[in-house]
């Protein structure tokens, strides 16, 4: 009976309603604190849970791509593997190198995880489901992201190990290089929406023409910005093919090599949380946030759409990881500064052009102009950056 009485709107807002109902039971003096706790706990539960699911999905998916089964021993089809991993990392000995800088070594993973969680404060997970609707939400997100670099440095430096220091150097160089295009790629959306608040950005994309939504992805600058953003996000979250900071074949695990047990697990958690956060930001900026992809699908709750989109992006990350080999350091830097950065700047120009070109009957011309302005330099750049060095046939003098 109760289920029948619930309208789709109630289902959409069910978490908000539950929170309000719970808040009503708390004395008024404690309500601000209770409200904060009630908002934070779902994030602290949902995203680590997603991390657990992602690890098993990733390992199984990568396995299938490489013609093998993934983990398939623990539980049905191996889906309890993250529980086993969690128990293992919790019960493992916590080894701290003798020469390590103990205080910094201890603080680094904690700071990293805190920074990774802070980013979720401004992400709207569903309709009316955002922790704080900050006026400068996007700026907050990137400001918190820059703390990650510092904690990576702390981890790498305090371990007093050459591998961790090299890994930290690589990670910081890469993160700083790709933070610039990441911000520039999101600037186009800020220009169009006229706000730094992520809630406003989602609302500005929530309309529909016919059955199709008004996502920023469906504009020439939007699609270019999305691609640039995703490339930069892959590098920012140290995912393959930009996983040089932890390149196993060269520096074993990078900046967190001297960590073990639970602290090591914290690094992994923070890395995946960072990936989810940047993916969520991409969803919010370009893919309409929690909005349904087609107008007749709006009866499905908004948070479901958000997590579905997030899962799709995660699967895409896994797919990319299973496909592409790791880049070299100079290729990585060259790609950031010589290709991604100019294209992101050009994209800002195109977004301005789109704004001032007339819509209406000349819409197709507007599309053509924008695509032309984007595509021509893209092709020129990519051909001019192509390595022209011919590889010689390698001969072996002593093998014969």
């Amino acid at each position: 009976m109760i289920a029948a009485a619930l309208t789709t709107q109630d289902v959409d807002q069910i978490f908000v309603l539950i929170k309000h109902a719970l808040l009503a039971c708390v004395p008024a003096a404690l309500q601000p604190i209770a409200s904060a706790v009630l908002s934070i706990i779902p994030i602290l539960v949902a995203f680590p849970l997603l991390f657990a699911i992602t690890t098993v999905l990733e390992r199984k998916g990568l396995g299938r791509m490489q013609n093998r089964y993934g983990p398939n021993r623990v539980g049905p089809a191996g889906f309890f593997q993250p529980i086993a991993d969690g128990i293992k990392s919790l019960t493992k000995e916590d080894v701290v190198p003798l020469s390590a800088d103990h205080a910094v070594h201890f603080l680094a993973p904690i700071l990293l995880v805190i920074a990774a969680f802070l980013g979720y404060a401004v992400l709207p997970i569903g309709r009316n489901m955002v922790l704080v609707n900050l006026n400068a939400g996007v700026l907050f997100f990137f400001a918190v992201g820059s703390v990650v670099e510092l904690s990576v440095f702390m981890a790498g430096w305090s371990s007093r190990s050459k591998y961790s220091l090299l890994g930290a150097m690589r990670a910081i160089a890469q993160m700083i290089s790709y933070e610039v295009p990441l911000v520039l790629a999101s600037v186009v959306v800020i220009m169009q929406a006229g706000s730094l608040s992520l809630v406003t950005i989602v609302e500005s994309q929530s309309g529909y023409t016919g059955i199709f939504p008004h996502w920023y992805l469906f504009t020439p600058w939007g699609i270019a910005g999305f691609i640039l953003f995703m490339i930069a996000a892959t590098a920012e979250s140290n995912r393959s093919p930009f996983d040089l900071p932890e390149g196993e074949s060269e520096i074993i695990a990078g900046y967190f090599i001297e960590y073990s047990g639970f602290k090591f697990a914290l690094f992994f958690l923070a890395e995946y949380l960072g990936m989810f956060a940047t993916s969520s930001l991409a969803i919010t900026l370009f893919l309409g946030g929690w909005a349904a992809p087609l107008s007749f699908l709006t009866f499905i709750p908004s948070y479901v759409w958000f997590f579905l989109k997030l899962l799709v992006l995660i699967c895409f990350f896994i797919w990319i990881r299973g496909t592409l080999p790791r880049l070299r350091m100079d290729q990585l830097m060259g790609f950031a500064w010589k290709f991604i950065l100019p294209m992101a700047l050009l994209n800002i120009f195109v977004a301005g052009l789109w704004r001032f070109l007339p819509a209406g009957p000349l819409n197709s011309i507007r599309w053509l102009v924008c695509i032309g302005v984007l595509a021509a330099p893209c092709i020129v750049l990519s051909f001019s950056l192509k390595q022209k060095k011919k590889l010689l046939v390698r001969t072996y003098h002593f093998a014969e």
Partner: protein, 167 residues
Amino acid sequence: MTAPFLILAALAVAGTAAAMGLRNGVHCVLALTVGFAALAALYLQLGAQFVGFTQIMVYVGAVAILAVFAIMMTHHPGLIEAPFSRNWLWGAVIAAAVFATLARAISLGTASAPSAPPEPSATVNQIGDALMHRYILPLEIVGLLLTAALIGAVIIAIDPKDREESE
């Protein structure tokens, strides 16, 4: 004088004092980031969101990292340096005198200030509008300055040997 202000002020003072007092250069910078973060929180406390987040982004994300890299690149493992200058006492005396003067000036000069006027609004939209209209010239000049500083820093910091090789 509210509790958040006191906590943040204590953090800022402790962080910066540690940054100026510790022996290990990297520890100094890490302590400094604590001070900068506390300052950013103070800006937020004052209602200047944009400046607070910019502070974190620029100082914690960029300046601290730069300083740390510079310290590591100029570090001599064998060299044990005294952290403070020979005539450190003079410096401390001068700083204390400056603080005394400033504190006296503040206590005399701003006694009549209103204790809590209504909070002025500074949304990102307003700041953007102001930057694009009233402050457009300073904005352009700062842009030019930053570009010049970027190129200049690269040219100064590049190793002369590398420069010869690339030419």
